[in-house]
Amino acid sequence: MSSGRVYEVFARKNHDEELKHVGSVNATDDDLAKAYAWTLYDEERWVEMCVVPRSAIVSITNEGPLPVWGN
């Protein structure tokens, strides 16, 4: 049984703030990733939130393995 893939979670608190990395979730598809991120990272009333599959991230500063950005 697999936990699915890892999605990195990004969110913006106010319209004039940068989108920042707030954590990560495991999910078997995009819809579940959205639900998990929304319910787990509920510490703010985000004006914007999105998830990105970790596998889609292209690292520039790290030649080797991707760092784990958050949690």
């Binding site: 954590g23 080797g64 760092p67």
Partner: protein
């Protein structure tokens, strides 16, 4: 004995960490570092996870709808915090499903305090006031000092939410004290067993502690005794301020809190009573912890449900 003193790779990493190196990937780690970090995260995740069923059952004792919603929100937070710890462990090669569903009740590494039943509202809110204060004491030290970048960042959210739990507990402790009568008696009875329980939570005193990998790798910054003092520095004045007695006091001469009973000593979990006339060695305390407390199986069963056996078998 995590860092092998003679292993040059471990020594080199410890030296670089002392110079301020932050670890970001598994590739940066030595085996000793990774093992110490995984142990720390297991305890952290298991503690958060096992607080959830304990608080969930106690939510039934909430005196109002609002306070019941508050406890339910705390349960939600704690499960989230457990997920965060296990999520990091997965990036280090652990299997979250195995961690949650594939272990026997006695294999979880949470403190003995979360093997105990919370049987009334006073016990629920003192658990918030004492156990969550212990959690924030331990985790804010990790947050400030850890050499592992992903954990440092993850703890921003966790620390913030733990502070809310703590405030919930402390404000209710004040209300129960002010109410007097039966509410106040229940509060005092709860403090009587939870105060020593939380002191024990911080583990071996420094003079008995073997060399700590967690300190050497800067996975934490303060020693067990320093953390125990930090907890008492917040908790003893809180209790004194609301007229609740605790078996510890501040000693001006040594500028430290002093425990006023033979520590550690035996506990009767069924009577919820500390036996101050039965002092123990720490090895005997570890035996009591390993035997686990009365609610261990029930709590793990609540978490795993029927799914537990599916993954385990």
């Amino acid at each position: 004995m995590t860092p092998k003193p003679l292993d040059p790779a471990e020594q080199a990493l410890i030296a670089r960490i002392n110079d301020g190196l932050m670890i970001e990937t598994v590739a940066d780690m030595t085996p000793g570092y990774k093992k110490a970090l995984l142990t720390q995260l297991t305890v952290q995740g298991d503690t958060e996870l096992m607080s959830a069923p304990a608080y969930y059952l106690a939510a039934r004792d909430a005196p109002t709808i609002n306070s019941r919603i508050a406890v339910t929100a705390i349960v939600h937070d704690e499960l989230g915090h457990a997920n965060i710890a296990y999520r990091i462990m997965e990036d280090l090669g652990a299997d979250k499903r195995q961690l949650v569903y594939g272990r026997q009740p006695h294999e979880f590494k949470h403190p003995y305090g979360f093997d105990q039943p919370l049987e009334n509202w006073a016990e629920m809110v003192v658990a918030n006031g004492f156990f969550d204060r212990a959690g924030i004491t331990l985790l804010s030290d990790v947050h400030q000092n850890t050499s592992y970048g992903p954990l440092k960042r993850a703890l921003v959210k966790v620390d913030r939410e733990e502070v809310l739990h703590l405030r919930h507990g402390e404000s209710w402790m004040k209300r129960l004290a002010k109410a007097g009568g039966e509410a106040r008696d229940a509060l005092q009875r709860t403090v009587d067993w939870m105060f020593p329980m939380t002191l024990e939570w911080f583990g071996l005193p420094d003079d008995l502690k073997r060399h700590s990998g967690q300190l050497a790798y800067r996975l934490k910054g303060l020693t067990n005794d320093q953390l125990r003092q930090t907890w008492m520095a917040a908790t003893v004045p809180l209790c004194e301020g609301i007229g609740v007695e605790v078996p510890a006091h501040f000693d001006e001469a040594t500028d430290a809190y002093v425990i006023d009973f033979p520590f550690p000593c035996q506990y009767d979990p069924n009577a919820k009573r500390w036996l101050f006339d039965e002092p123990l060695t720490w090895d005997q305390v570890f035996d009591r912890w390993k035997a686990r407390g009365p609610m261990n199986e029930r709590y793990v069963e609540m978490i795993q449900g029927t799914f537990g056996s599916v993954v385990a078998n």
